[in-house]
């Protein structure tokens, strides 16, 4: 049986270190070397202070669900309906769009604490995803 390929990232030159860090299961985001602002997606200059200097820093992997949806229509072969998508506010600031794995919250998912995990798709692609943070009260 054919395995549906995971949709490829949109090729942005500044994002290469991001996807490399995902592959190594050691998620890093670009951070302004001057004002400390995290950038996601990565970019050529800091939107806050205009600095061109940046570093790549490991993030805590902790965050809070801002919103979620359930697709009832299949758009992509790798994601047959129903499938869910979440928007997570990382503790470092940026919003990441991802998926929730494992148990789902009862009722509203908003404000649930989540933590990062790495999923391997059927075609071998590693994706950063989230699960409910059971350590959170």
């Amino acid at each position: 049986m054919d395995i549906a390929p995971t949709p490829a990232p949109v090729p942005l030159v500044h994002d290469i270190p991001f996807w490399d860090s995902v592959k190594q299961k050691d998620l890093k985001l670009q951070r302004c070397a001057d004002c400390g602002q995290f950038r996601y997606p990565a970019g050529p200059i800091c939107a806050e202070c205009n600095s061109e200097q940046a570093t790549w820093e490991r993030v805590s992997g902790k965050g809070t669900i801002l919103s979620w949806v359930v697709f009832h229509k299949t758009y992509l072969p790798a994601y047959p309906a129903p499938h869910t998508v979440i928007a997570v506010r990382l503790d470092e600031g940026p919003i990441m769009i991802s998926n929730l794995e494992g148990p789902e919250p009862e009722g509203s998912w908003i404000d649930e604490r989540v933590s990062l995990r790495y999923s391997t798709m059927p075609d071998g692609v590693v994706l950063p995803r989230f699960e409910l943070d059971r350590a959170a009260s």
């Binding site: 490829a8 949109v10 919103s67 009832h72 928007a87 908003i110």
Partner: protein, 385 residues
């Protein structure tokens, strides 16, 4: 230079047969391509205006047709021209006329999106890489423009207490208006129960929250006021315009998920109200760009028709359908008339102000407000007699 109210006016409107072509496309026919639909609409607008084609010295085409080809087909060698989406085209025409680059501008839009099978989600999502936020999250299965609005709506419902039944009132009201519009494709009335029982596409959005993707064309002729008054007894003036954008954090959806574009809507609205010298309380008709129903509650709050957080109460107590306190999308909007990417709303503004809206006519309408919030850009246009 300060912008001048009543410096420009619409003197011609045209469209293709949306519902007729819808039926033909469903039967497997291909009535026209994008350029063909645009040309038909242009002919209709030119007839409506009563002006000679040779007076047209400006051309703006929609994003779906090539500018040079469109000018070639229409036989328009102009002094000024370009390509723009619906509301940006109105603003550009206003700017070009006010600054003397053109006097009479044709705006033409054609789209064969239904017969061509245009996809607004999935592996070849329309607009894809030119709007990064539409494709950036595809590795996680996040695709389709509806899904972006579904994420927005879910958070908005949580923060501001808008229930699914409250939301259903938008689609119900617009369908009720569409029953009085022969040009509308979907004219069967629906109830909030029908809405609640309808299938989800991207939950919390139901199928009735999505626009009707359709083939068709729209054309407008905008002229400077002196010319307009000479050629027609009933020009529809541009009284005020405003624009404000929120781009910071756009790809990660920050402006959509944290404040729902509210500051940009407020700024664009205020700019247009100040230019026109009137405010939301003075509007006879409100037309909101509605690729998805979510735009409507956001616009009602953002442009000051109700308190922020008060839209559920507004929808229930005031109402936006026939008989409601504020008539909104009186043509049925993109949800029930046809998805013409904002262009059809301008036709409805003109018809209401000319008194040509048939059984859905708002008696004595003097002012119409059009708002659009798409991909970071918030724009506000006020039309009047």
């Amino acid at each position: 230079m300060a912008r001048t109210p009543r410096a420009t006016a619409i003197i011609g409107i045209g469209q293709t047969d949306w519902s007729g072509d819808w039926r033909r496309v469903r039967n497997g026919e291909k009535p026209a391509d994008s350029v063909g639909y645009a040309a038909q609409a242009f002919q209709d607008a030119l007839r409506d205006s009563g002006i000679p084609k040779s007076d047209i010295d400006g051309l703006i085409v929609g994003p779906t047709t090539a500018y040079e080809r469109m000018g070639e087909v229409l036989g328009l060698n102009v002094r000024w021209g370009g390509q723009a989406d619906a509301v940006q085209a109105i603003l550009q025409a206003q700017m070009a006329i006010e600054s003397g680059y053109a006097k009479v501008i044709a705006l033409v839009y054609g789209n064969d999106q239904r017969s061509a099978g245009t996809q607004y989600g999935g592996p070849s999502a329309m607009g894809g890489q030119s709007f990064l936020s539409y494709v950036y999250h595809s590795p996680w299965g996040m695709t389709s423009q509806g899904a972006l609005y579904a994420l927005t709506l879910r958070r908005y419902q949580h923060e501001r207490g808008l229930s699914e039944a409250d939301m259903g009132q938008v689609a119900v009201a617009q369908r009720a208006w569409a029953t009085m519009n022969d040009a509308a494709i979907q004219r069967k009335p629906i109830t909030v129960d029908d809405y609640l029982q309808s299938r989800y596409v991207c939950e919390p959005l139901h199928v009735f929250d999505y626009c009707l993707v359709n083939d068709g064309g729209v054309a407008l002729i905008i002229a400077d006021a002196e010319y307009a008054e000479r050629m027609r007894p009933d020009p529809v003036y541009i009284l005020g315009t405003g624009r404000s954008d929120l781009n910071t954090g756009a790809t990660s959806l920050e402006p959509r998920l944290t404040d729902y574009y509210l500051p940009a809507q407020q700024q664009a609205g205020t700019a247009s109200y100040e230019m026109a010298g009137i405010g939301p309380d003075d509007m006879d008709v409100m037309l909101a760009y509605d690729s998805f129903s979510v735009h409507v509650p956001l616009a009602l709050e953002g442009y000051g028709y109700c308190d922020v957080g008060g839209v559920a109460q507004f929808l229930t107590e005031k109402g936006i359908g026939p008989g409601g306190a504020l008539p909104v999308n009186t043509h049925g909007g993109h949800l029930s008339e046809s998805y013409m990417q904002g262009w059809n709303h301008q036709l409805e503004a003109v018809r209401q102000l000319r008194g040509e809206a048939g059984s859905r006519q708002i008696p004595g309408a003097q002012t119409v407000h059009y708002t659009s919030d798409v991909a970071g850009k918030c724009m506000s246009v006020i039309y009047g007699r």
